[in-house]
């Protein structure tokens, strides 16, 4: 008795390359320029970046030059936003201060991003006691409010740019570590990881080349909102006198100095305050837009 036999398999053509090409040519539903939030954010941040980068072209005043003959001048064609109590041009200080704050914020976001991503990947991929140690560290950092810990750290390390980087890195990595760890925990159960292991690839290679590109999106989205937090932290530290040291211009110091003249010269504090708000808004919009654009399943 013949039990098993197979019909002579006449192969039907597999999906033609043409069909795949048509699929690719089809416009993606979510084009980045169709995201109103993302567009608005990009425009706002673009304008601000343009203004601070082109500061020497927009103002002829040195932000640090004092003019004691023209202190606390009002808004005029000479001084677009008036001068402060030392006769320094407020508009000029606003632009150059933005340079400092934004530069530090964009650099400061990179360190915790990298550190958190590495530690999160290791914790998620290997699990076990490594995971336990890293996650207990995360718990310890998370137990303190963000600003309290940052301020305390900078206070210990001494004011200045370097301390800001160190403090933000030490506190900020935990969010990235948590995000990446969670994503890796899901992704490492995927069959392509098993396939990569079966192909004799090292753990490092699997993490870096196979897992990370699949999970990094969430960390990038978070980084956008993290920059906002970093700017707020930098401004807050400077406001408290722990951040950028005078005479270097910076929004936090400007707000703090202008406070004494709030009733008579409101623009000294309010304008840099507004700059912080608008920058934060712009970056948040970019973050939201990116999240909508990159989140899977959209």
């Amino acid at each position: 008795m013949s039990v098993i036999s197979l019909p002579a398999g006449a192969g039907s053509p597999e999906s033609s390359p043409q069909a795949a090409a048509a699929e690719r040519a089809q416009p993606r539903r979510h084009r980045w320029y169709r995201q109103p939030a993302l567009m608005a954010g990009l425009v706002i941040i673009g304008l601000i970046l343009l203004a601070v980068i082109a500061a020497p072209l927009l103002t002829s005043y040195n932000p640090d030059t004092q003019n004691l003959n023209a202190t606390l001048a009002g808004i005029s064609s000479h001084h677009l936003l008036g001068t402060d109590q030392l006769g320094r041009d407020t508009f000029s200080r606003l632009l150059y201060g933005g340079r400092v704050d934004l530069r530090i914020a964009f650099i400061a976001v990179l360190f915790p991003f990298v550190l958190g991503t590495i530690l999160g990947s290791v914790a998620g991929y290997f699990g076990g006691w490594i995971d336990l140690i890293i996650m207990r560290l995360v718990d310890i950092v998370v137990a303190f409010p963000f600003f309290v810990l940052i301020i305390a750290l900078v206070f210990v390390l001494g004011p200045g740019e370097r301390s800001i980087y160190i403090a933000i890195t030490l506190v900020g990595w935990v969010s990235y570590a948590r995000i990446i760890r969670g994503e890796i925990l899901v992704a490492k159960r995927q069959e392509y990881v098993l396939a990569a292991q079966s192909g004799g690839l090292s753990n490092l290679r699997i993490m870096a080349r196979h897992l990370l590109p699949n999970v990094i999106t969430q960390a990038i989205i978070y980084a956008m909102s993290d920059i906002v937090q970093d700017i707020l932290a930098i401004v807050t530290l400077s406001y408290l006198g722990l951040g950028i040291q005078p005479p270097t211009p910076d929004w936090g110091t400007m707000i703090s100095n202008g406070q004494d003249f709030l009733t008579t010269h409101w623009q000294l504090s309010t304008i840099p305050g507004l700059a912080v708000v608008v920058t934060g808004l712009g970056l948040s919009l970019i973050g939201d837009g990116l999240a909508d654009l990159l989140r899977p399943g959209q």
Binding site: L6, G11, S12, P17, L194, A196, P213
Partner: protein
């Protein structure tokens, strides 16, 4: 379990392999004393129901068990080296260049965010010391060999731009990329259309024959085994219950479970009025039934089946069964053949 046949050193020899999985319900004996020999250049089929331990056996051979599972006993000898004793670093030199694996779902087994060409080129880069250009050349050549049309253009495509059959061709290309001597296939065609399935099987068999690569072929599809394999081992509840040549096992099944599998597969030459299902469900592997594990579902079961777990016994020329009353299967087949 190859006693009868005299053959030189097999390529792969699995010896009394035990795999246990820690679960909330207790320890699952997923693989419970499996022995298997794969001669060089031959294809061995491993069939059984879902959960019979086929995939776990494959993963144990390659040392890629899930974290909660571990090999508790047994040896996996490849060219005389016990893979079960090697650490991960040494195993990584075996995986790929010596043993490769092909998975059931080509979609999930390919990295969705990596270009197909890079995925094929990765093995040669890591294991054969090729640089980017050489490995890309090799990937293109492999894509040509597995019949992917227009490889230059498809090289930089992503897996989602491929059809199921094309993806499985990519998987085959990846498996072949480091010229392994053994390929483990975990139901490589189950997720494909029947017509594509046949193409892929023919391709796989042809390529392995050309390069003298051995195959271990896990499936629950008997016609596929008949098409691809030389030898066949039937697994039930973590043990091998019957073993022999494909011809022998499929035409003269000497275990009621094999008989059940054979009868539940459709046969085009002699269509049955109805396919016969095996009653009941596979036993719990946490506390398997005493005696023969199949006896609760077996219509030939007797008193002695419930007492002790029967070992594999050699019947003739390499055909072994773990059934105490295997003659009844043959009797049943004979009467059925007479009826027809």
């Amino acid at each position: 379990m190859n006693g009868g046949e005299s053959m030189s050193q097999p390529l792969l020899q699995v010896d009394d392999l035990h795999v246990q999985i820690a679960s909330r319900r207790g320890i699952v004996r997923a693989v419970d004393g499996v022995s298997l020999e794969v001669p060089a250049g031959e294809a061995v089929g491993l069939v059984g129901e879902s959960g019979s331990g086929k995939s776990m056996t494959l993963r144990a051979i390659l040392g890629v068990l899930p974290p909660e599972a571990r090999v508790t006993a047994g040896r996996v000898l490849l060219d005389g080296v016990d893979l079960a004793q090697l650490d991960n670093r040494r195993l990584n030199q075996i995986r790929g260049p010596k043993i490769a694996m092909i998975f059931q779902e080509p979609m999930s087994a390919l990295n969705p965010v990596m270009r197909v060409g890079s995925q094929i080129a990765e093995g040669p880069q890591v294991h054969m010391g090729m640089n980017r250009r050489q490995s890309a050349e090799r990937a293109l050549e492999l894509m040509r060999r597995v019949g992917i049309p227009d490889p230059e253009r498809r090289f930089s495509s992503f897996p989602h731009e491929f059809s199921g059959g094309m993806r499985q061709r990519v998987m085959i290309a990846i498996a072949l990329s480091c010229e392994p001597s053994l390929i483990l296939c975990d139901e490589p065609t189950t997720a494909l259309d029947v017509t594509i399935q046949d193409q892929i099987l023919r391709l796989l068999v042809r390529l392995c024959r050309e390069s003298g690569t051995s195959l271990v072929f896990v499936t629950h599809d008997l016609p596929v085994v008949a098409q691809v394999c030389h030898q066949l081992a039937v697994m039930y509840a973590g043990r091998i219950v019957e073993h022999g040549s494909v011809e022998g096992v499929l035409t003269q099944p000497c275990h009621p479970y094999t008989l059940g599998l054979v009868r539940s597969a459709p046969d085009v030459d002699h269509p049955r009025s109805s396919l016969v299902a095996i009653p009941g469900a596979p036993p719990s592997l946490v506390s398997p039934p005493a005696g023969c594990r199949f006896h609760p579902r077996c219509k030939f079961a007797e008193e002695d089946c419930t007492v002790s777990d029967p070992p594999l016994r050699l019947l003739d020329a390499g055909h072994a069964t773990a059934c105490l009353h295997y003659e009844r299967c043959l009797d049943e087949l004979r009467t059925e053949g007479a009826d027809r």
